[in-house]
Amino acid sequence: MTSRDTIAAPTTANLPMAKALTAGLRQAMLDDPKVLMMGEDIGPLGGVFRVTEGLHAEFGEKRVLDTPLAESGIIGTAIGLAMRGFRPVCEIQFDGFVFPGFDQITSQLARMRNRHEGGVIMPVVVRIPYGGHIGSIEHHQESPEAYFAHTPGLRVVSPSNPHDAYWMMQEAITSNDPVIFFEPKSRYWPKGVVDFTAAGTPLHASKVVRTGTSVTVVGHGAMVSVLLQAAELAAAESISLEVIDLRSISPIDYGPILESVHKTGHLVVAQEAAGFVSVGSEIAATVTERAFYSLEAPVLRVSGFDTPFPPAAVETHFLPSPDRVLEAIDRSLAY
C-alpha cells in the first residue's frame, strides 16, 4: 500500500520546494522498487540541501546510495544500472559540479538508446540544484541548462513551485528518457500548496501562471517568481503582463507562448543564464518564425551577462531583477 492509498492522508500540504521534492522522490520510490537514489552526501545527511532527507533511513543503503565523490562515476554507473533495469535518480551537488559528468551525460546517457537502435531505455534523472540568489561562492550559482537542452536525447525541465516540483519529479522518474531536472535552489525554501491528488499539468507543458494583455513574459525556475513580481509592479502602472512558466526546456511547449503572443504582440524572455546561445535565444528565434505577423516588437531577452557568474557581493547587478524585466517591457512597448 502506498501512501497515496492511506486512508485519511492529507490531500494538500503547504511545503517548501525542497520538501515537496523529497515527497515526490519518496512517492516514486514507494511506487517502483527499481527507483534508486545516487549521489554525494545523499544518505544519512540527506544531501547538502536535505532533499533526500529521511530516504536513506526509510529505504536503506541499497536504494539510497552514497557514492564516491566523482560525478562522471555517478552518471556512468547510473547508465549501467539503467541498462540493468533500474531507474536511478542522480544528485549533482551543485550546478557548477555537473561538468565532470558532462561527457557521460552528453556522449553516453543521451545517446545510449539511439546507439542501441531503440533496444534500451535510459530512465535516468539527473537532479541539479541551480541558479543564483543564494550569495554563494564560485561554481555554486550557475545556470547551465542550455548545454543540456542543446543535446539531443535529453529532456530538460525545471519547476518553479512546490506543487510542480512534487509532480514533475515523479513524472521525470517514470519517463523512459533521461531527464535533467534543474531545481531552482533559491526557491527551495519558500512554501507553497502541494495538491497530492492531481498534477494538473503534464511534465513538458508550459503554463500561463498570470493572465494579462500588454506583454507576454516567459521564464523558468526561479525566474518565474521574478516575473510575477514584475507583473505586480507593472500592474500599478496599468501594464498587464501575461506570465508563462516554461516548466520544460526540452522540449519547449510553444502552444501557450504563441497563443499569448498572438494576443499581446510583445514577448520578453527572462533567464539567469548568459544570453548568448541561450534558451531565451531559441525561444526568440522560434517565436519570430511562428508568430512574425503577430509581433509588434522584437522579442527581447533579459539575461545574466555573458560573463562568469560574478562574486556574490555583486550578484544582484548580474541577475535579472523585476526592474530589469520592466526595463525590457518598456523597450518592447516603445516600438
Binding site: G73, G76, T77, G80, M83, Q104, R113, H116, P152, S175
Partner: protein
C-alpha cells in the same frame, strides 16, 4: 626473459607475469602461475582446439576486414592482430550468464559470445551507430568509442547484479559477473579510474581486463604510466594480476579465477594482459612513423597463434586439424566478405526514430519536415 608493461626486460624468475607457455610454445609455467594451474587443469583438448580455431578465424577475419576498408567498403577498420590470445583466453573464461563490456577491438570476444562478425562491420561501414542487441548476442554489449566510458557502464551494471541478487548466491551455474575490456591508453582516462574506485567501493562482481598492447595510437605505454599498470590495482584496493597476453592458456587461467572470484562475491580484480598491437591502431594510422621495426619484430616472434600451434604440435595434434582450421577461417572470411558487400543502408527515418523513447515534438516535426522535403522531389525529373 620477459618484457614488462613499460618495456623493460627482466629475468623470468623475477617476473610477476603469469605465463604457462614460453615464447616457443613449451609448457613452462612461471612462478607467478602456480595459483592459476588449477584453472588451466580445467581445460580439455577440445578446449585447446576451440582456442586455436578462434584465434585463427579472427586473424583471417581481421585481414579480410582491413581489405574491405582499403577497398572502400568500410569507413574504418580496427585491427586486433596480435591480441588474439588475450581476447580468446579471457572470453572463454566467461559463462553464459556473464556480461561483457568491450572497448572496440574485441572482435573475437564477440564472436565467442555468438555475435555475427558482419554486425561489427555494419557499424564500421556506417549504417548503424551500434549494430546488435546485447541480450541476443551473449550479453556482449555494444562497442564504446569514447575511451574508458564503458568501464563505468560495466561497473554500474555489476552494481545492478548485486542489487537484484543475481550474484554471490553460491551457485556458480547462475551467479553473474561482468568483464570489461579496455587498454593501456584508456587506463589514463578519469572514467577508468572512477570505475575502479566505484568497483572497489561497492565490491562489484567484475573483472577489469586491460590489454596493454603497448601503444595508444602513436604514444607508447611509458607515457601513460611509469609503473606497471597491474600495480595500480593495489592502490584501488583490489587484486592486480599481470599475465602474458600472448599466452592463450595463461589468459584463460587468470581470467577464469578472477571471474570465479567475482561471481562468488569476492569482489573485483584487474588483469593486465601484456600483448602487442602488431597492426596499426586503425586503418587511418601509420605505425611506421613512430615504431621501431626491431620492437615489432620482437613481438612478431612472440605471435600468440604460432606459439599455441607449437604447443599443440608438441602434444601431437594432427595436421589435418590445423589445415581444417585454416580452411574454416578462409571460408568464414569469404562469407563475411560476401555478406558485408550485401549490407544495405538504413532508411532515413533512422535519423529520428530512436533518439527518444517517448515522442519529442522537435524530432517529430523535423522527421515530418524531412519526409515532406524529400518527397517534394519525387517525380520532379519526369
Amino acid at each position: 626473459m620477459s618484457v614488462t608493461s613499460n618495456g623493460a626486460t627482466v629475468r623470468t624468475d623475477a617476473s610477476p607475469t603469469v605465463q604457462l607457455l614460453s615464447a616457443d610454445g613449451t609448457f613452462a609455467p612461471s612462478d607467478a602461475a602456480a595459483e592459476f594451474l588449477p584453472y588451466f587443469d580445467r581445460l580439455t583438448e577440445a578446449d585447446y582446439r576451440t582456442f586455436y580455431r578462434d584465434m585463427v578465424v579472427v586473424r583471417k577475419f581481421d585481414t579480410e576486414a582491413a581489405n574491405l576498408q582499403r577497398q572502400g567498403q568500410l569507413a574504418l577498420w580496427v585491427p586486433s592482430h596480435g591480441q588474439e590470445a588475450a581476447q580468446v583466453g579471457s572470453a572463454h573464461a566467461t559463462r553464459a550468464q556473464d556480461h561483457i563490456f568491450p572497448s572496440y577491438r574485441e572482435h573475437v570476444v564477440g564472436m565467442i559470445r555468438g555475435l555475427d562478425m558482419v554486425d561489427i562491420l555494419r557499424m564500421l561501414r556506417g549504417v548503424t551507430l551500434g549494430g546488435w542487441t546485447p541480450e541476443e548476442h551473449g550479453n556482449f554489449h555494444l562497442y564504446t568509442l569514447v575511451l574508458a566510458s564503458q568501464t563505468l557502464h560495466a561497473t554500474g551494471y555489476a552494481m545492478g547484479m548485486q542489487l537484484d541478487g543475481s550474484t554471490a548466491t553460491g551457485n556458480p551455474e547462475t551467479d553473474q559477473a561482468v568483464i570489461v575490456y579496455y587498454g593501456d591508453g584508456a587506463s589514463s582516462q578519469g572514467d577508468a579510474n572512477e570505475a575502479l574506485v566505484f568497483a572497489a567501493s561497492y565490491q562489484t562482481p567484475q573483472v577489469f581486463f586491460m590489454q596493454n598492447n603497448h601503444w595508444a595510437i602513436s604514444v607508447p605505454v611509458s607515457r601513460q604510466s611509469r609503473s606497471p599498470l597491474y600495480l595500480r590495482a593495489g592502490g584501488f584496493g583490489m587484486p592486480g594480476i599481470q599475465v602474458d597476453g600472448n599466452d592463450v592458456l595463461a589468459s584463460y587461467a587468470v581470467t577464469a579465477k578472477a571471474m570465479d572470484d567475482a561471481r562468488a562475491g569476492h569482489g573485483p580484480s584487474l588483469i593486465e594482459a601484456l600483448t602487442y598491437r602488431v597492426g596499426a591502431h586503425t586503418t587511418a594510422d601509420d605505425p611506421t612513423k613512430y615504431r621501431d621495426p626491431a620492437e615489432l619484430a620482437y613481438w612478431v616472434a612472440r605471435d600468440p597463434i604460432v606459439r599455441f600451434r607449437s604447443y599443440l604440435e608438441g602434444l601431437g595434434i594432427e595436421q589435418e586439424f590445423l589445415d581444417s582450421v585454416d580452411e574454416e577461417a578462409a571460408d568464414h572470411a569469404a562469407d563475411v566478405r560476401r555478406r558485408a558487400l550485401e549490407i544495405t543502408s538504413p532508411e532515413r527515418s533512422v535519423i529520428f526514430d530512436n533518439v527518444y523513447a517517448e515522442p519529442h515534438p522537435l524530432v517529430v516535426e523535423q522527421k515530418a519536415w524531412l519526409d515532406a522535403y524529400e518527397t517534394s522531389f519525387d517525380g520532379s525529373e519526369s
